[in-house]
Amino acid sequence: MGYESINIFNVKPVSFDQGERDPFGFDDFSEKVGADYLPFSGSVSKPTYYLFVAYVNHFLNTNKSLWKNDKQKREIQIRLEKLLVYCWKSKFSKTELRGGLLGNNFELSVIDVFTSKGWVIQNAFKIYTDRNFAPATLELYLKKVGERQMPLLRDFILCDYKLPQRKAEYIKDLVKQLQKKNSLFNNHRLEDFKDKFKKELIEKIKGRLKNEYFQLLQPYFTYKTFKEETFWSKLLENPNPKIPFAFLNNWFGKFVLAVDADIYNKPNRKSLWINADKAFEEIPNNYLSSSKSDITLQKRMKKSKWFQFNTSENRYAFYDKGSPSEKRRIENLWESYKKRQGEEEGTSYFFNYRHSALLRLIKELR
């Protein structure tokens, strides 16, 4: 063993999705604004998961004897998700499965479908919720193949084939039976149900009644090719006052720079605040709040987890909680937060309001 087998690396900066990473509540606010326009998950986007989640929930609702409580229900969900990934991985290579497949890093040999353990916590059900997003697609699936698969899945959940040899024989046979034409377990892309799902997805977006935005977006579902730059600029940089994204991003960016100038007492803080306040005034009033969020945007956000706003001095400063290590932690979190401007998913936007997920969906449904 020589040094060839090892890897020395600089540790890349990482964004943390959860917790206290949202000093003014902008992450939450922008997520809610995005949800107002795009009624699906902003995390991983794989059209098949919508059908799969709806199918599993249908399976659970029609097989209530299989579970007594939420814990058991969850275990079944995870085992079925593992089975799905197992089936896909037994047919497709890791490269073919790239792009939003949860659990793609697991080698086939280590996926134990007989237990819910040993799986990443972030799974399809956590991301897609248990609502039936695509009822018509589900109905078609049940008719074509889904109903016939239900007894197989029921047997799979009930089976107690714990002996290694029997497990191997059983799973081999099950995969063979599940990988039939039209089956979810046979293809990680929706293929046969793509048109139905696309129609439902378009209807759902249309149902948000954001007509100006919808008119801009709809053609992307039918374009055979398009430039991604125009997709972003048309939807996120659009100066149309009926679309909020450009106004909000403009202010978020400028506000953060101005707060930074306050806390580090930078000489240009006044001009930065002038820019920020100008950007704020340009935001149409109806975008300063979202029906789903508790937060209302204000020129000076008063509630913050990290900073206090000193009204008499008209400036922000770090909360002094008497702990230097806590202060350092917040300073680092703030550095990381600032960096997000211009680094969101490779675009130059502070937030993308679920548009990365939208783009992935459109690409796969083309």
Binding site: I6, I8, N10, K12, G118, L163, S336, K339
Partner: protein
């Protein structure tokens, strides 16, 4: 050796594993959540006891946080090691470096790490793995709580019988008698004896006021370059005529990497790890109240670290700049403050819940905001207390420290252990009830299930299939063992335990079959000896002539039946 920037969590995600052991000084909830998303195995996190967190979501009890102390805790030292060890059924992976499991570590590109996959195909793989496990053994003395869980984990990690062969990549740690520097010198003595070092480069984000052993460093080479943060105290190095470098740009500003590189004519010796180049980190032994540190020493090509130390990132202070140098208020002196924030950890064993509370400000602890104060029991650490008075609601313990409501997820010890076993760490976990190789358990399952052989002939046989099922179960067990290449101390113990479960003749059959299976496997001498011992005992108890049996076994072992 590749060189790049890499996502620490990606490195963990791409290695599916059963057990993950993580060592860190500081710890943040955001990082633990991220780990939960990417790591497939259990997560045993050892952290400095003054730097813990309260975990409010511990799904399936897969996260186990253990507060640690240095051997001789005081207000100037800490548990400072940073390591991730991931063990799968076929090998292991480790990541060692400067990054803690805190948000701070991942905010900017300021940490360095080394990762390595071990497949145990070579004896040198085992060598480095065993060095890590030896380190874990030493950590037993740094635990406040849960020594038995830690021992069980080590048993599941250790392959005592695998042969080892020394290798020039060393995992090192400071011990009671040896410092990190002692280990570094030993390494140079072993692999570079007689060779003259050209220079030494040291990167350290933190420094000491004074260095008692700097002359020893100079005896390796007096051409020393030291890479420090902007504003750091330079006097200790200035006095010894070291070249002083500071960040040229943002890329190295606030760096946290700890490196020592000794350059020779043809290659260099590199240390990467948790230890700052300070008295507490690098030069003291545990008996001298050092921090607990660890790292890797290895030989690298000269060009390996050229870019990291390159002039794109650093500028050398000129004589005038050194003469006019002004330390910053934060002069980078190493200092480990205790966090001022309380945290709690609750664990359940059988039905008893013990809550550990780190309470640095000695605030009153109450079940409800206005309720009576709970009397806390002392542990052997200042500020860390425990109580059994708090009950759970929906697997959560809720109480108040001062005015703050604390909500902690209850960690279930039995679920954690069961999780480890289910993930393939136990040979026998799949063989329960009707599939058991324990005659008593199998008989009970057969009786409870009222199982019988149903014949198709006119004669109805009502005999329960106790022997047939047993033979089938043993056969399946042996098949699963055949696939397994390596056996841990835990496996050794569970085999020993299994063959002593009864004195039934079927156990003799099981033991004989195990003996035959392990005869074909290398590095399982203890298991074979244990089987021989048990066979001898059983033959006596079952009145079987030992000589005849031994003659049979010897012939049978070399036969292909």
């Amino acid at each position: 050796m590749k060189k790049n920037s890499k996502d620490f969590f990606q490195s963990i995600a791409e290695y599916p594993h059963n057990i993950g052991v993580y060592l860190t000084y500081t710890l943040d909830n955001e990082v633990v959540e991220k780990l939960s998303e990417v790591a497939s195995g259990t997560k045993l996190i050892l952290h400095d006891y003054k730097q813990g967190i309260s975990i409010d979501d511990n799904s399936n009890s897969t996260i186990f946080c253990v507060p640690m102390k240095p051997l001789k805790p005081n207000d100037r030292n800490c548990f400072h090691s940073k390591l991730a060890l991931l063990k799968s059924e076929v090998g292991a992976k480790f990541i060692v470096g400067s990054a803690n499991l805190s948000v701070d570590s991942f905010a900017t590109e300021k940490e360095i790490a080394i990762e390595m996959e071990l497949e145990f195909k070579t004896e040198t793989d085992v060598f480095i793995y065993n060095q890590i496990i030896n380190f874990f053994e030493q950590l037993k003395s740094h635990l406040f709580i849960q020594i038995s869980i830690w021992e069980q984990t080590i048993n599941k990690l250790r392959f005592k019988e695998l042969p080892t062969k020394s290798n020039s990549i060393h995992f090192i740690f400071n011990s009671n008698e040896k410092s990190i520097f002692d280990e570094y010198k030993n390494y140079l003595g072993r692999y570079k004896s007689g060779q003259t070092a050209k220079s030494i480069k040291i990167a350290t984000p933190f420094v000491s006021d004074d260095y008692s052993k700097i002359e020893e460093v100079k005896s390796i080479s007096d051409n020393i370059s030291i890479y420090l943060r902007t504003g750091a105290k330079i006097k200790p190095f200035q006095n010894h005529h070291c070249k002083i470098f500071q960040p040229l740009n943002k890329k190295r500003e606030g760096f946290h990497s700890k490196l020592m590189l000794t350059e020779f004519n043809s290659d260099a010796v590199l240390f990467i790890g948790s230890a700052n180049f300070t008295e507490q980190g690098f030069f003291k032994t545990l008996n001298e109240s050092a921090n607990q540190e660890c790292g890797i020493i290895l030989k690298v090509p000269l060009k390996e670290m050229q870019e990291w130390f390159g002039e794109n990132f650093w500028k050398q202070l000129s004589e005038i700049e050194v003469a006019d140098y002004k330390e910053a208020e934060d002069n980078s002196l190493e200092f480990f403050e205790s966090q001022n924030i309380h945290y709690a950890w609750a664990e359940k064993e059988n039905t008893k819940i013990t809550t550990y509370i780190f309470n640095p400000n000695n605030l009153p602890v109450r079940k409800t905001k206005d309720g009576n104060k709970i009397k806390l029991q002392n542990t052997d650490s200042e500020f860390l207390f425990k109580t059994n008075e708090l009950g759970e609601q929906k697997q959560t313990v809720i109480f108040f420290i001062g005015d703050e409501k604390i909500s902690v997820s209850v960690f279930e010890l039995t679920e954690y252990i069961a999780g480890l076993n289910e993930k393939g760490e136990s040979i026998f976990d799949s063989f329960k009830g009707i599939y058991s190789v324990n005659p008593t358990e199998l008989d009970t399952a057969i009786n409870e299930g009222k199982l019988s052989i149903k014949e198709t002939t006119s004669i109805q046989i009502t005999e329960p299939p106790k022997l047939e099922q047993y033979f089938y179960n043993v056969k399946s067990l042996l098949q699963s063992i055949e696939h397994k290449k390596y056996f841990t101390d835990f496996n050794e113990k569970e085999i020993q335990n299994e063959i002593y479960k009864s004195d039934d003749g079927r156990i003799l059959y099981l033991t004989l079959q195990l003996l035959k299976t392990f005869s074909a496997k290398q590095n399982t001498e203890n298991i074979k000896q244990e089987c021989w011992k048990r066979i001898s005992e059983l033959s006596e108890k079952l009145n079987i002539d030992q000589r005849t049996l031994n003659t049979f076994i010897k012939g049978w072992l070399i036969s292909k039946i």
